[in-house]
């Protein structure tokens, strides 16, 4: 059944699902880049001395964590193009609907996951203790250098496992984008079920694909951990 030609697509159903996987992974990667950059910035903001920046970071995190993902997605896709003055109409007119959905979903997932990444970065930096920070300052680094040379390399290595699970959560959350019409892997399994009326098989196939993505990401993360291990600091030597 998987090797039967698909309606209106050319190519068989297996390639239909694989393309869904590709789109899902593209969305995940695009969102992850945004989430990682913004999350790191906000996480660092929450650990600098002073009171203005940490409060700003905390504000960001609370907003993006307490509104459900679906509501955020709707805000990004339906509400913002209406409200934002210049970019909004340009956004609606110059991009095809599929690209609009992709961009809205990538932005929404990116900022949502960024709030969780910032929590991880913050806990990673805090777990190093303030002694590292003070030692860096004592050595004559300014604050930026303390972060980039002393704190961040170790903090990132500490949080690799939790960042991996955040990335896997992100891949799963891309399924929510199907509510605004983005045809991701979940939506394709539904479509394929409707076209072929073989609902069970399509769902099982998609479940297997998701589990496969999980497995591969776990393996990559384990190898990354092993490759970046600092001698004598974290993890077991094998």
């Amino acid at each position: 059944m998987f090797w039967q030609p698909a309606i209106g697509d050319g190519g068989n159903y297996l390639s239909y699902l694989i393309w869904g996987l590709v789109w899902t992974l593209l969305l995940s990667l695009a969102s992850w880049v945004l989430a990682f950059v913004v999350g790191s910035i906000v996480g660092m903001m929450r650990t600098v001395p002073g009171s203005m920046l940490p409060k700003l970071g905390a504000f960001y995190v609370e907003i993006f964590r307490n509104i459900p993902l679906l509501v955020q997605l709707f805000i990004w896709y339906f509400v913002l193009p209406e409200l934002v003055p210049i970019v909004g109409p340009w956004f609606k007119q110059s991009f095809s609907p599929a690209l609009q959905q992709f961009i809205s979903a990538a932005l929404c997932l990116g900022f949502f996951t960024a709030s969780r990444v910032s929590e991880q970065v913050r806990s990673g930096i805090n777990s190093l203790g303030s002694s590292q920070f003070k030692a860096g300052l004592a050595l004559g680094f300014n604050i930026t250098q303390v972060y980039t040379i002393v704190l961040l390399p170790v903090a990132y290595r500490i949080i690799i496992p939790t960042l991996t699970s955040e990335f896997l959560n992100l891949v799963k959350n891309t399924a929510v984008a199907s509510t605004i019409g983005f045809i991701d892997l979940t939506q394709r399994s539904k479509n394929m079920g409707e076209y072929t009326s073989h609902l069970y098989e399509s769902f099982i196939a998609v479940t297997i694909l998701y589990a496969l993505v999980n497995l591969i990401v776990m393996l990559i993360s384990r190898n990354l951990e092993r490759a970046t291990r600092l001698p004598g600091y974290l993890g077991e030597k094998k």
Binding site: R65, I67, V71, Q72, V176, L199, F203
Partner: protein
């Protein structure tokens, strides 16, 4: 809103009960039980909630109809309950397992030395302590469940967000209503997570 709270509470409680069972299964000496529990947890944690909801929305009613033979619309709510309970159970199982494992082995040894069976040990000694430690995490997961309940939108079930969205489309005030829904969720979840934080401070 009532429907959202219904789903949260029912799925939360059912998920916690089932999750406790699965966590205990996972930690048991019986390799079959622990493998079964591990498979369950891994399976439900690797697929999106949307997919689980779709599974139960599209597939399970067919199974149930064959058993009962009475197609009625109420099956959507029931399948939403079941789907959420099973999904949350896997997350709760992980939390509870971590809680149980954080109790020192000395407790188990002492209770076994006192002549209790393994079951009594679990029920009377380990689980009460583990739950006391795990309450903040369990409540945080319940808040996440409250947010994820907005996803029943994909099943066509009425819930708070669905009502807001449909009213917005009908009245043309979509922007304001979506913001309103977001603000309500924000206030509720923020208040709940602040309460959980206070609870955590009180019990530590």
């Amino acid at each position: 809103m009532v429907r959202t709270l219904e789903i949260t509470i029912v799925a939360g409680i059912a998920g916690m009960l089932l999750g406790t069972l699965i966590a205990v299964m996972r930690l048991s000496k019986n390799p079959i039980l622990s493998a079964l529990a591990a498979t369950y947890v891994t399976a439900f944690r690797s697929i999106p909630l949307v997919m689980v909801l779709l599974w139960f929305y599209l597939l399970v009613p067919n199974l149930i109809k064959k058993v009962i033979g009475n197609p009625n619309l109420d099956i959507r709510l029931l399948s939403a309950f079941i789907a959420f309970s099973l999904f949350e159970a896997s997350y709760y199982a992980e939390i509870i397992r971590a809680g149980i494992q954080s109790i020192s082995r000395g407790q188990v040894s002492a209770s076994l030395a006192l002549g209790m069976t393994v079951g009594e040990t679990m029920w009377l000694i380990i689980l009460p302590q583990a739950f006391r430690r795990m309450v903040p995490l369990l409540l945080t997961q319940a808040i996440i469940l409250f947010q994820d309940s907005s996803l029943v939108y994909v099943m066509g079930l009425v819930n708070f967000f669905g009502v807001a969205y449909n009213t917005g489309i009908r009245d043309g005030t979509l922007v304001e209503l979506i913001f309103f829904a977001g603000a309500v969720y924000l206030i509720i979840c923020f208040a709940a997570s602040t309460l959980v934080g206070k609870l955590q401070k009180k019990t530590t």
